[in-house]
Amino acid sequence: MFNNIEMMQTAQAMARHASDRQSLIARNVANADTPGYRARDLPSFADSINSSAPAVGLRATRAGHIGTPDTAVELAGAIDNGAEPSPNGNTVSVETEMVKAAELRQQHDMAMAIYAKARDILRTSLGRGQ
């Protein structure tokens, strides 16, 4: 029932996007010294939720469509960041990854704050107080 409240649904999608993106950033940082590794990233949440932009993973337009497994969704939307490779073919920049990590931390905190607030409003409407 609470899943149908759009605000909570959006907050949930936002938190999921943040943690998926963090998983990719962790992969990039872990492979910062791997020869030939190309850094990848997900499009921003605003781009991925906008229906005109390419969605992350496969879009299901009918109830009968089969969804893709979690890891496939994460990989399908990943884009190469197109950075200039270092002599060993690696395109990871640890500084850029740290900036992105700070950004998504903020996004995740915001999503959780929105979710908590929506839950508090629900609770208030039930007359329970906070």
């Binding site: 998926d20 963090q22 998983s23 962790a26 990590a101 995740h108």
Partner: protein, 129 residues
């Protein structure tokens, strides 16, 4: 939650890979005065088919094939007729730079690990209130 667990796994793989690299660097530095010692190098590889896709894998240990330094010391027991012997091919400057790079990468992985941990803690705090 699945991707947060994956994040923790990826950062941990990065940290253990860097730790292993640092171990080889310390081995090289310790043996910088060992006659005939060739420096060891490791290479990293991204393991895309493992349990956690994209985790770092430490490749085979290889020996640096560059020429050994020739040290002139006629009194040394290993010295040949010309009075010199083969030292190691370890360059301390390179090893220190390598160690510092491993340390920085380790710290970056640790930071991501800590952030993932804090994020999952935030999720759990949602339930607590």
């Amino acid at each position: 939650m699945n991707s947060i667990l994956q994040t923790l796994g990826l950062s941990a793989s990065g940290m253990s890979a860097q730790a292993e690299r640092l171990r080889h660097v310390s081995e090289n530095m310790a043996n910088s005065d060992t006659p005939g010692y060739r420096r060891k190098t490791v290479s990293f590889d991204a393991d895309m088919r493992g349990e956690v896709p994209g985790a770092v894998e430490v490749g085979k240990v290889r020996l640096d094939t560059s020429a050994l330094t020739e040290i002139y010391d006629p009194g040394h027991p290993l010295a040949d007729d010309s009075g010199s012997y083969d030292g190691s091919n370890v360059d301390l400057l390179i090893e220190i730079a390598d160690a510092r790079e491993a340390q920085r990468s380790y710290e970056a992985n640790l930071k991501i690990f800590d952030q993932a941990r804090q994020m999952s803690q935030g999720l759990i705090d949602l339930l607590r209130r």
